[in-house]
Amino acid sequence: MSIAAVTATRDAPASAILPARGGMLGALSDLFWRRPRFLLVLMLMPPLLWLGVVYIGSLLALLLQSFFSIDEFSGLINRQFTLKTYADLLQPANFDIIVRTVTMAALVTLASIAVAFPIAYYAARYAQGRWKALFYLAVMLPLWSSYLVKVYAWKLILAKEGILTWFLAKLHLLWLLDGWLALPYVGGNSLSVSATGTFIAFVYVWLPFMILPMQAALERVPGNLVEASSDLGASPGQTFRNVLFPLALPGIVAGSIFTFSLTLGDYIVPQIIGTSRLFIGQAVYSQQGTAGNIPLAAAFAVVPIVIMAFYLWGAKRMGAFDAL
């Protein structure tokens, strides 16, 4: 069929410029086309207002509260600028909470990196078609169910009468579990009331937040860079250290921001699974609730923000974002 035949099948428009569509929508379309920035501002306004007023606003209010102090006799808040509340954070009882939480967050992050990397690497490099769909489903599916349900499920798994103890008994490895539980800091009467249990539950609930950014970062590393490295004489280990890891680092940092900050702020997991020793989230919860010490709660809440700021600053200095 010739071009003439194709065009002849419908009426050719009479003029080079088509008439305006008319109506308000047509006028709006033309206006948005002429002023794309106007459309942009219009679209960004609601989320910016939300973020600016509700989110940043409440953060600032929080920051302000942390500079107030509580009158120890009356229990009333003294609205005068002071650093006394921050000094309270350094008292051994409070400082212990911070150290415990930061240590837990760091360990959870490292474990998440170690567990997530092979999964993310497989998904980014090998999985295709239905396997890729299965990967996304498997990683995302746990996020569909309530986080409380998952944590309680872990409590049952880790309990003394739970499936894990049963399984280890079948393998004749109970001595290993008992030995571990006898250790200071990490041990306890059973896994479900030990810091180890808290750690396991944390790694489980935050793992998807590490896998997904890591997989996205690894997927952006062109396959031929791995081949080029191998071609130039690098063993698989050298290729990992010199090419894959540096290029996946932005994803690892992004994932670790999730796992680290989520662990820093969480108060439910250690409440349900773990020892009676508090984490920052629990301290905030109890200080602003039963204790009614809003300034100390606010000061506790500022700690994760400051730690994350330092963490990001350090990651940037290490060049984690150079490959972006």
Binding site: P222, N224, L225, E227, A228, S229, S230, D231, L232, G233, A234, S235, Q238, N242, V243, P246, L247, G319, D322, A323
Partner: protein, 332 residues
């Protein structure tokens, strides 16, 4: 002399797809060898078999006499210039070039000095501090070349390295690669789908089609004496003549080929001229290419610029020397 690369009955199948099938090939040490073919013809798979990124399904591959099946890429003294260069984006140019020496454990001062020298060799001295993203396509190409050459490979593999460059740059790089190869004496194996590039650069050319080699020979042999219709068509843009036509003009019932420049378009039809109608005229600069329809056959003729050129639709006649018809091996 031991060949640089030797394939014996090599096959590489991907499921039902025979990317390379029962292939025999010897590449001599120190030669500039081109693998030419359309996309999907198996030439890149061959290159990847030499580099070690692919393992043969069957057959043996030796590199300078040593068996290479099952040897990983990082244990082969063979380096590749990748089609899209594959420079490491997180390293600067100097560290990119020094990478091969770095992973071999050569000291920093020594490897950076060698990298500087390699950059000078590809005429990019002083570019070491830049990132690959700050370079033009042609410069990246040179960095990729330096990164491979700094390892002093026994064989250098080039996978369509000039494909992404514009015409002028490509012509410069062709000459430069050729003189570099002569100066270094390293065996170059070059994959391309551009016949002009293969003919102008290589000492020998292998023409690939559907996982097999159709013909191996010098550029002159390939161009002037194609063995099959495919080679004639793909390499020379030659006119492929059917057996009946060849029978009439060359006396043998075989497929033949006739190069466009061997056809002379004449005004007055002599008794040995062939009548034809001009169905297309393309101006190519140095010459004009005419498309001639005759006896149900479509032929291309090349008319040098400056001579009078007929117009589309004109009735013309053409002649050619009978011995300009090359008879191909392929049976009718």
């Amino acid at each position: 002399m031991t060949p640089a690369v030797s394939f014996q009955k090599v096959a590489r199948h991907f499921g039902a797809v025979k990317a390379v099938d029962a292939l025999d090939l010897d590449i001599a040490a120190g030669e500039f060898f081109a693998m030419l073919g359309p996309s999907g013809s198996g030439k890149t798979t061959c290159l990847r078999l030499i580099a070690g990124f692919e393992q043969p399904t069957a057959g043996t591959i030796s590199i300078f006499g040593e068996r290479a099946e099952g040897v990983p890429p990082y244990r082969r003294n063979v380096n590749t210039v990748f089609q899209d260069y594959a420079l490491f984006p997180h390293l600067n140019v100097l560290d990119n070039v020094a990478y091969g020496l770095m992973v071999k454990g050569i000291g920093k001062a020594e490897r950076l000095k060698a990298a500087e020298e390699a950059l000078a060799l590809v005429q990019l001295p002083g570019y070491g501090a830049r990132r690959p993203a700050q370079l033009s396509g042609g410069q990246r190409q040179r960095v990729a070349l330096a990164r491979a050459l700094v390892n002093q490979p026994k064989v250098l593999l080039l996978d369509e390295p000039l494909g992404a460059l514009d015409l002028k740059l490509r012509e410069n790089m062709q000459e430069e690669l050729k003189s570099l190869q002569k100066a270094l004496g390293i065996t170059f194996v070059f994959v391309t789908h551009d016949q002009g590039e293969a003919l102008s650069m290589a000492d020998r050319v292998a023409v690939f089609n559907e996982g097999r080699i159709m013909q191996v020979g010098s550029p002159q042999e390939i161009y002037q004496r194609p063995k099959t219709r495919f080679v004639a068509d793909f390499v020379g843009s030659s006119n492929v003549l059917p057996p009946d036509f060849v029978q009439r003009y060359a006396g043998q019932r075989r497929w033949g080929s006739l190069r466009p420049e061997a056809i002379r378009v004449v005004r007055d039809a002599g008794n040995d001229a062939v009548q034809a109608r001009v169905s297309g005229v393309s101006y190519l600069g140095a010459a004009t290419r005419l498309t001639l329809d005759t006896e149900g056959l479509r032929l291309h003729a090349s008319v040098p610029s400056g001579s009078t050129v007929p117009e589309q639709g004109d009735a013309v006649a053409f002649t050619f020397n009978r011995d300009a018809i090359h008879l191909m091996d392929e049976a009718p």
